[in-house]
């Protein structure tokens, strides 16, 4: 909102046509270093759409996988700063998929950041996610404050990196 107001007020000083400020123009004007490439592995279509739209509205680039196997396939083809991984999914769950990611990283300097999306609020469930190799967790239903805190945390890591064009997982 602050950015939108600043741009509208700034337009007063311009001569000629005043550019229209939309959410899309604001998104394009974002600092590219804060834009994350995110893989969302979530089978539930309502939650999938919700997470994707919330991330897109914040300017991030999103790819969707419907289960853990699809997430591993997406990771084999592309690189991502963050993976939001639902824990309970058909075919291959998030725990198994994260195990697969970590096995592939063995002997390399790579570390893919994996955030668990868990409907289980119990500490034991969170510990299980971390024990499986996940880096962080986000409880479902997702609260915007918690989502923004996670994005802020990992955007800061990206900003702190020497090469912002390179995904976080490749910079260890």
């Amino acid at each position: 909102l602050r950015e939108a107001i600043a741009r509208v007020l700034g337009a007063r000083e311009q001569t000629g046509a005043i550019p229209l400020v939309t959410r899309y123009s604001l998104q394009n004007a974002r600092d590219p270093e804060t834009i994350l490439r995110v893989l969302v592995a979530e089978d539930n279509p309502v939650n999938q759409r919700l997470v994707v739209r919330l991330l897109e509205k914040r300017g991030h680039r999103v790819v969707v996988a419907g289960n853990g196997r699809e997430a591993l396939e997406a990771l084999a083809k592309d690189t991502f700063d963050l993976v939001f991984m639902d824990v309970q999914m058909p075919e291959m769950d998030g725990i198994e998929a994260t195990g697969g990611i970590r096995r592939q990283e063995t002997g390399t300097s790579r570390h893919q950041i994996v955030i668990a999306l868990t409907a289980h609020a119990m500490k034991s469930d969170r510990d299980r996610c971390l024990a499986a190799g996940m880096d962080d967790y986000l409880s479902k239903p997702i609260r915007l404050q918690e989502l923004d805190a996670i994005l802020q945390k990992y955007s800061c890591l990206r900003r702190g990196s020497a090469d912002a064009s390179e995904p976080l997982g490749l910079r260890q």
């Binding site: 309502v46 759409r49 239903p141």
Partner: protein
């Protein structure tokens, strides 16, 4: 003394909570409701069949899917019953399964109609 306000609708949708969670984006809310309306009837029918067959693995998976969608739309009472069904499926409990399903069916009976109300300008 603080007063606890119940923002939930007759079917247990916490609308202020829901709007907050979709970032006050009413287009997004309508889109999510549209997805829910497409998915929900099929999932409910499949759950009813699974309960009748006492296929507990399927009861667990379907209840989990329903719980996720319902909590995503802040339909908290129905989500809690779906969570109970999921737990019964996981723990292999057949006793009380039909009663829990009946309770769930009652809870969601008017759900689509109420959600439809939210997609109209009047509803929001």
């Amino acid at each position: 003394m603080t007063e606890q306000r119940d923002h939930s609708s007759p079917i247990g949708v916490d609308l202020p909570d829901l709007l907050l969670r979709v970032d006050n984006d009413r287009d997004l809310l309508c889109e999510l409701i549209g997805i829910f309306k497409e998915e929900f009837p099929g999932l409910l029918r499949a759950l009813q069949k699974s309960v009748a067959r006492e296929d507990l693995k399927s009861v667990e998976a379907l209840s989990h899917a329903l719980k996720g969608m319902l909590s995503g739309l802040s339909v908290m009472r129905a989500a809690a019953i779906a969570a109970r069904l999921e737990e019964m499926g996981r723990e292999g409990k057949t006793s009380g399964l039909t009663d829990a399903l009946t309770l769930f069916e009652r809870e969601v009976a008017d759900l689509i109609a109420e959600l439809d109300g939210y997609t109209s300008a009047k509803g929001l």
